[in-house]
């Protein structure tokens, strides 16, 4: 990922800044600039998501791409935030600990070190809460 591509989404990646459609109330994280339900009738504003949620489904990644291979095995999950939106993230816990509906909270962590662009990527991971 180039520096600009990473830097562009720093508020979203670091602080879970999503968006909200004021017309229908749906919260989007990852952020969307168009509401898929209201489309042009929607009104999109920034929305600071709660860092709390629960595990919807999960896996343990044993074989990763080169960029993440130093982290294996790691827990990857789909997490539903209190705001109702879902995202994909790593959960920092022992692979045997992860369960359905497990309550988690977000933490700020290094995501991948030294990608092809040479920058360290920070972002959100989750821990059991």
């Amino acid at each position: 990922m180039t520096v600009a591509r990473f830097w562009r989404k720093i508020p979203q990646r670091y602080n879970l800044i999503g968006t909200k459609c004021e017309n229908c109330g749906t919260v989007f994280f990852p952020p969307r600039s168009l509401c898929p339900d209201c489309r042009r009738d929607g009104k999109i504003v920034d929305h600071h998501c709660s860092g709390r949620g629960k595990v919807v489904t999960y896996t343990v990644i044993r074989t990763a791409s080169d960029q993440f291979s130093n982290l294996t095995p790691y827990v990857l999950a789909i997490i539903e935030l209190e705001d109702g939106c879902r995202l994909t993230s790593q959960v920092i816990c022992d692979p045997s600990e992860i369960t359905f509906g497990m309550p988690v909270r977000s933490v700020f962590r290094v995501i991948a070190e030294d990608g092809p662009s040479g920058i360290i990527h920070y972002g959100t991971k989750f821990v059991p809460s």
Binding site: M1, K9, R13, P30, V56, T57, Y58, T59, V60, I61, R62, T63, A64, S65, D66, Q67, F68, L71, Y74, L76, A77, I78, R86, L87, T88, S89, Q90, P95, F100, I111, A112, H121, G123
Partner: protein, 387 residues
């Protein structure tokens, strides 16, 4: 709209083709299809090439022109050639473009081809991850097997599917593949082979995953009314459908249902005016074992959550109620991503012509293909009938 028929098919050997280049691979399948149709290059009106990621796999873009050039189509006719991309559904989508071009009356004889050269890439895991959402899945460390593993985790939590039943998908596909000369793997395996293989992304193991492959496939289509001029055994395309869904798995309505597969399946059956029970064989997109389980359910052959029993009873074998992936599927036949959708067409047409040899489904009249891009963001379905 005109009725469209398949008049020629060709498929290269799938596998790790270390001695063969990207363009040579294409020429292999293309030549077979042209010979099978008994046409010459000048009569081809257009070419659609399915390819996912030559840019990343072999650092080559502008694939349409390259293929037209090395297929010898740039001399007399300067034949138009268009690359079609929808990740792992690129091949099925290229076929659909060819069918639409002929159905519309715009073109008469059109070649749809698919090609992928995967073994030249260093980090194929990362290239394939580009079929998912790079910014919000890949960035978090999601791999392609990882996404399907999360589908499997969800599915097995909610429905009664045992780890053994999941393994039966791979065992059956290897058995079918052992009877297919172009198949990457020719060996039969057991449930134990799957359960003892390395974990890739829990609960999926190495033998739940389709391999990294090189290969190509090509199909020639023409208006049905012209088809008899070229072949004694034309196969009609009785339905074509395509559907889209969210690029990211986390945004789906239901983790274990590919809604795009449901939509494309419903549309194609409606358009072809045939029932599910009339289908004699189906080639589905088993990039992972769990994907085949979801496919037979989402296409409406069995209810959600009930596929496990179908495998337990052996109904998806040749000779069963619903033979699935007689080619060996992506698991055993191999999965050169851009070529897969056209290999599926190649297999169904081979079966409907009665030319499948040891793996022939007796009396096959109607066949189906289902080609999936990403974790379900694009699905392309086709139905075929022996004329």
């Amino acid at each position: 709209m005109r009725d469209v028929a398949v008049i020629g098919i060709g498929c290269s050997k799938f596998g790790e083709r270390w001695d063969t280049s990207f363009r040579e691979l294409f020429v292999e399948a293309g030549t077979l299809a042209i010979e099978d149709a008994g046409i010459d290059g000048e009569s081809i009106d257009a070419l659609y090439v399915g390819n996912m990621s030559a840019g990343r796999f072999v650092e080559q873009e502008h694939i349409g022109a390259l293929i037209a050039d090395y297929a010898g189509l740039t001399r007399a006719g300067h034949t138009p050639a268009t690359r079609v991309e929808a990740a792992c559904a690129s091949g099925g989508l290229a076929f659909r473009q060819a069918v639409l071009a002929v159905a519309s009356g715009m073109e008469d004889i059109v070649v749809a081809a698919g090609v992928e050269k995967m073994t030249d890439a260093g980090d194929s895991t990362d290239v394939l991850a580009a079929a998912a959402d790079r910014e919000w899945e890949g960035f978090a460390g999601a791999t392609f097997p990882g996404l399907y593993a999360m589908i499997a985790t969800d599915y097995m939590h909610r429905y009664s599917l045992t780890r053994e039943q999941l393994a039966m998908v791979a065992v059956k596909n290897h058995y079918h593949g052992s009877m297919n000369p172009i198949s990457q793997f020719q060996n039969e395996i057991t449930i134990d082979t799957v359960l003892r293989s390395t974990l890739v992304a829990d609960p999926l193991r190495l033998f739940d995953c389709s391999p990294v492959s090189d290969g190509s496939a090509a199909v020639v289509v023409a208006p049905l009314e012209m088809a008899r001029d070229f072949t004694d055994a034309p196969v009609t395309v009785i339905g074509t459908a395509q559907a889209s869904d969210t690029i990211a798995l986390h945004d789906r309505r239901d983790i274990s249902t590919l809604d795009a597969s449901v939509a494309a399946g419903n549309r194609v059956f409606e358009r072809a005016r045939v029932d599910r029970k009339d289908v004699d064989l189906v080639e589905v997109h088993d990039c992972f074992t769990i994907a085949e389980i979801c496919a037979v359910e989402d296409l409406g052959f069995v209810k959600k959550g009930e596929a496990g029993m179908l495998y337990e009873e052996g109904q998806t074998y040749i000779g069963g109620d619903l033979p699935v992936n007689t080619s060996g599927g992506l698991k055993a036949c191999g999965h050169p991503v851009g070529a897969t959708g056209l290999k599926q067409v190649w297999e169904v047409v081979t079966q409907l012509r009665g030319e499948a040899g040891k793996r022939q489904v007796d009396g096959a009249e109607i066949g189906m293909t289902q080609n999936v891009g990403g974790s379900g963001a694009t699905v392309v379905c086709h139905l075929f009938r022996r004329v």
